[in-house]
Every structure is written in structure tokens, then in C-alpha cells.
């Protein structure tokens, strides 16, 4: 087994286990920490995919900015732990509706995996593995020429989100 494959399996295992931990336990503080772990492993996968700039962005913006925002709110609100569900083994999953939801999402996962396992490279055009996509120059050129409108629209979106967050969270008097 070569190094790339080994790294893929390690990162994939860390990502899946950490994500399971996020949804699997009741303390939101641990959830946020595990999600940061999961995002770090995802950044490793991006490096394997020849996208180092995306990996760095993932760490700086997701693990660095967004998760800190979550951490702030968890600490600010001092959220109590979730109430335990009904007694019994199945009760650990929660109420009847939650059990049905868990089964449904399991079915969704099996469906997605089954469908994706038959997708071949042919569906997405040629295998251009020789072409390098890691160049920041290429990303910048494409971002500011072909995707310039979306880029500008994004700035409006951020402005709207900023004003909205301030207005919503303001203490009314």
C-alpha cells in the first residue's frame, strides 16, 4: 500500500469517527472540539487532492473562525447538557420520532453510498490527472475573471449577514 492510500484511509477514518462523535454525545463543548478535529482531517484530504490552498482556507476559516464563533456561543450561553432520553437501549437514541429519523438517515446513507459506488470517472469527462489544479495563480485568475460576479455577490451576502446578525442578537429595550 503506498503512502497516498494509507494517508487517505487514516484521514477518512479520523473524519468519520470525529463526525460520529459530534452527533453521538450530549455535551456541545465536546461536539465543537471533535468537529475541529474532523475539519483538520478534511484539510489533510484536500492536500491529498492536490488542493493545498483549499486546505489552508479550510483550517483558517472553518477551524479558525467559524468554530471559534461556535465555541464563543457555547461558552457564553453555558448550555446545560441535553436531557437523557427514555430508559433502555433504544431509549438512548431518544423519542420515537428521533429513532425513526435515525433509521431514515441510515437508509439515506446506504442509498447515497450505493449510488456513488457505481459512479465512474466517465461521468465527469476526461481524467485529467496530469493537469495540476494546485496553482493559486490559476484559482485567483478564475475567481476574478469568470466568477467575478459571484465574488462580488458574496461581499453583499456577507454584509447582509453581518447586519442581520447584529439586528437579531441585539437586546431590545
Amino acid at each position: 500500500m503506498d503512502v497516498n492510500a494509507l494517508a487517505f484511509y487514516v484521514f477518512a477514518a479520523i473524519t468519520i469517527l470525529a463526525s460520529l462523535g459530534v452527533v453521538g454525545q450530549r455535551n456541545p463543548m465536546y461536539s465543537v472540539m471533535l468537529l475541529i478535529t474532523s475539519f483538520g482531517a478534511l484539510a489533510g484530504l484536500y492536500v491529498l487532492l492536490d488542493a493545498p490552498f483549499t486546505a489552508v482556507t479550510q483550517i483558517i476559516i472553518y477551524a479558525g473562525a467559524i468554530m471559534v464563533l461556535f465555541l464563543f456561543v457555547v461558552m457564553l450561553l453555558n448550555v446545560p447538557r441535553e436531557e437523557p432520553g427514555l430508559p433502555g437501549v433504544l431509549g438512548a437514541l431518544g423519542t420515537r420520532g428521533m429513532q425513526i429519523g435515525a433509521v431514515l438517515s441510515l437508509v439515506l446513507g446506504i442509498e447515497i453510498v450505493w449510488a456513488l459506488s457505481r459512479v465512474g470517472l466517465g461521468w465527469f469527462g476526461q481524467d485529467a490527472a496530469a493537469t495540476s489544479v494546485s496553482s493559486v495563480t490559476l484559482i485567483g485568475k478564475s475567481l476574478f475573471t469568470r466568477h467575478a460576479f459571484a465574488f462580488e455577490a458574496t461581499s453583499i451576502l456577507i454584509l447582509v449577514a453581518m447586519v442581520g446578525a447584529v439586528v437579531i442578537a441585539r437586546r431590545e429595550r
Partner: protein, 100 residues
């Protein structure tokens, strides 16, 4: 080189885990975290397909998704703070004012 399918399957598993989190957790903050997991699963798909097609478009869409995720986190957490101020709880079962 790792086949594209492996990345797609991994992202499918992550997406299903995020969906399960929405259903299983009775805590608004953890539900928002589950949405982040789902967004990251989609990001992984974009980057992987872009890599195997040899274009940078996948990475560029990923940046836009990250921006939207940041905006969503800011507004969502503002809503959570505002809701917590009213009811002193984060359980979604407590907020039924719009229920018919």
C-alpha cells in the same frame, strides 16, 4: 492514485452522519454543527470532482460554500442567542409558537 469513488463515498457517509445529527440531537447548537458537517461533505465532493476533471472550478465553488457557511453560522448563532434569551433553553421542542 485513489479512485474518485472513494472520495464520493466518504462524502456520502459524512452527509448521512450530518442528517442523523439533525434528527438525533435536541440541541440547537449541535444541530447547526450537523449542518456544517453536511456542508463539508459537499465541499469534499466539489474538490474531488474538480481534481479528477483537472479544473479549479471545484475549489472556487468550495470557497463560496465556505462564505455561505460563515454567513449561516453568524445569523444562526445570533438566532440561537436570541432564542435562549427568551426561553432559557436550547431544545427545539420549546419553540412551538409558530405551530398550528
Amino acid at each position: 492514485m485513489i479512485p474518485l469513488n472513494y472520495y464520493l463515498i466518504l462524502s456520502g457517509i459524512l452527509f448521512a452522519i450530518g442528517t442523523a445529527g439533525i434528527f438525533l440531537r435536541r440541541n440547537l447548537i449541535t444541530m447547526l454543527l450537523s449542518v456544517e458537517i453536511m456542508l463539508n461533505a459537499v465541499n469534499l465532493t466539489f474538490v474531488a470532482v474538480g481534481r479528477y476533471r483537472g479544473t479549479v472550478d471545484g475549489q472556487i465553488i468550495t470557497f463560496f460554500v465556505m462564505t455561505v457557511a460563515a454567513a449561516e453560522a453568524a445569523v444562526g448563532l445570533a438566532l440561537v442567542i436570541s432564542l435562549f434569551r427568551h426561553r432559557e433553553t436550547l431544545s427545539p421542542d420549546a419553540f412551538t409558537a409558530l405551530k398550528w
